[in-house]
Subunit: 366 residues, 2 copies
Amino acid sequence: MDQALDVIIANNKLKAKAFLDEVAGKNPLFICTIGTTETGKIAGISAAGANPEFTDYTPPADAELLLLGKCKSIAGVPITPDGIPTPGLITRSALQLADIPVIIANGGVRVKPQIPFIDLGGGPGRDIRTGKAVDNAAEIIERAKIVGAQLAKAVDYLVIGESIPGGTTTALGVLSALGVKAEGKVSSTLPQNPHSLKTETVRAGLAAAGERFGSLAKDPVRAIACVGDPMMAAFSGLVAGAAAQVPVLMAGGTQMSAVLALLNLLEPDVLCNVAVGTTRWVAKDKSSDLKGIVTQFCDVPILAADLNFSKSRFPGLQIYETGLVKEGVGAGGASIASMAKLGGAVTADLLLKEIEHNYGVLMGLK
Amino acid sequence: MDQALDVIIANNKLKAKAFLDEVAGKNPLFICTIGTTETGKIAGISAAGANPEFTDYTPPADAELLLLGKCKSIAGVPITPDGIPTPGLITRSALQLADIPVIIANGGVRVKPQIPFIDLGGGPGRDIRTGKAVDNAAEIIERAKIVGAQLAKAVDYLVIGESIPGGTTTALGVLSALGVKAEGKVSSTLPQNPHSLKTETVRAGLAAAGERFGSLAKDPVRAIACVGDPMMAAFSGLVAGAAAQVPVLMAGGTQMSAVLALLNLLEPDVLCNVAVGTTRWVAKDKSSDLKGIVTQFCDVPILAADLNFSKSRFPGLQIYETGLVKEGVGAGGASIASMAKLGGAVTADLLLKEIEHNYGVLMGLK
């Protein structure tokens, strides 16, 4: 536990503390990177949407929630099939509490959000079982690098999150292509992590692309093109462009390990200026192993917001403690950034109160 | 002349000096707002492109020049029919000298730039003689407001420029609809300002829309929709969203008077936090009257970069002194921002040297 903030350090304590010291009191810009893929629609692979076809609407709706406090592309907010609301609610609450600005970066979506967003020239991803997941990965990365480099000149530091259903499966795909052992280690929005389905999907994708475990260990762009997704092209480009100039908090769960593995090849120098920011639910998850993936190839610090919803007055939030959802839309990193900006003024308890307030309003509860 | 900087004050000396004091040493973000219209293709109305059809490529190419230092959508750089290069060269040079970051906001273009840009949901504008110039002006304004408000939280201040061929004609259109007398007062990229052609075009547009001079004095959104362009919807939204929080330097010539007239209705409170930044060529132009338009409805300061190319070693730059081009892509405002950021370190002379260097490289000259 960090002495001052409700933040758990899950890897590289020394550098984690240095990172927190560096960003303390600073004013970040939060970028939510969105994408959709046909991979996210494979039955049983993602809970980021009420049903598989609905996953096309989850990222644009999350983006709208962050900017407007409500969604436009859908009624209500994105929910799991069980009715559990998007972690974007956590992100929105955390950013509002500390008045942290937000912009949206579109890696490639089928349904465009009804708010302003940065267009990076990408379209939605295909099912990775085709072996042809993303058409123009190199161009998306290049454009995202330009944005990252420009924004880094203007702001203290960046916090970058993501919303893409099925993202842990494409993460497993890219990690496997790059030769990082991640089978059984990626996280899930579902309490029963469908590891074998993810593994089968990735193996089918690699086979269709004529690739195998580790065969793309020197070709990160092709790894995305074959078995990745447009979000990670955008995300890795943003970090590659920005982190040479300013610290970057990579806000997400095990998907961040795939982005780190890509950066380790695309722009390895920047790894000294990044940290992963996630939630306690990911850091403590028994069905996944973020640290175990990351430390195979680098030693970046991993921070986790010490959120605990067990005492929430809403059952819909309490259920996070059972392992449902866990992370997404940069919820953990946004919480950490909110705490770091205002120091002791934002605690995990205060954050829960704000989340409960927003949850109540959006769900029409008291 | 400001005591410290090569800046001419063309209106409201007291507030102009206060504005310069406020932004001195600060780190702005430059936003280039782009758009295209069929109005820009009316024969003889614009020189922002080698020929009328080419005007579709000028704004995306300008955007690419600012971010990459070269164009992708076209070979070389945008030029007038006489071969005079885009004022984007001045902007690029000024921003580079002071390491000022840039992002592109797309109000609505036919040809998308091959670089990252903020999508505001707009498409290219029609010929204003149809009386139906812009389809979704209200939505573009609203989305731009969101971006302006978010970016203002992250940066010291904003400098906003534009690239839209035919923009002074649509400016005259909106000013006329709003009841501001601007016939014979808007500027031109051409040395012989085609005032009567612009006036005819605007009158035809107002008639087609069933409107007349001043009939939309209380409906700025409809003024854009009938006889405006998508750039000004984006530009006015950005200022409306940002200037409540941070100063905004509106970088442009007489088109800025139309944006100010819109803001005077959309968000009048922000006018106390803006200044117009233009070039000496606009401020001293005998064939237009920026101050004469603006002071009909407000008293915002007008600053002009004291650029003088008469002693340039390149004839293609010397020709700016004859009244060709004059302004565009925020050239004047970017020059002022560059000087203000680094104080005495950036002078008009140093700027000319940098412009000549970049001109030589891009035009393949020595």
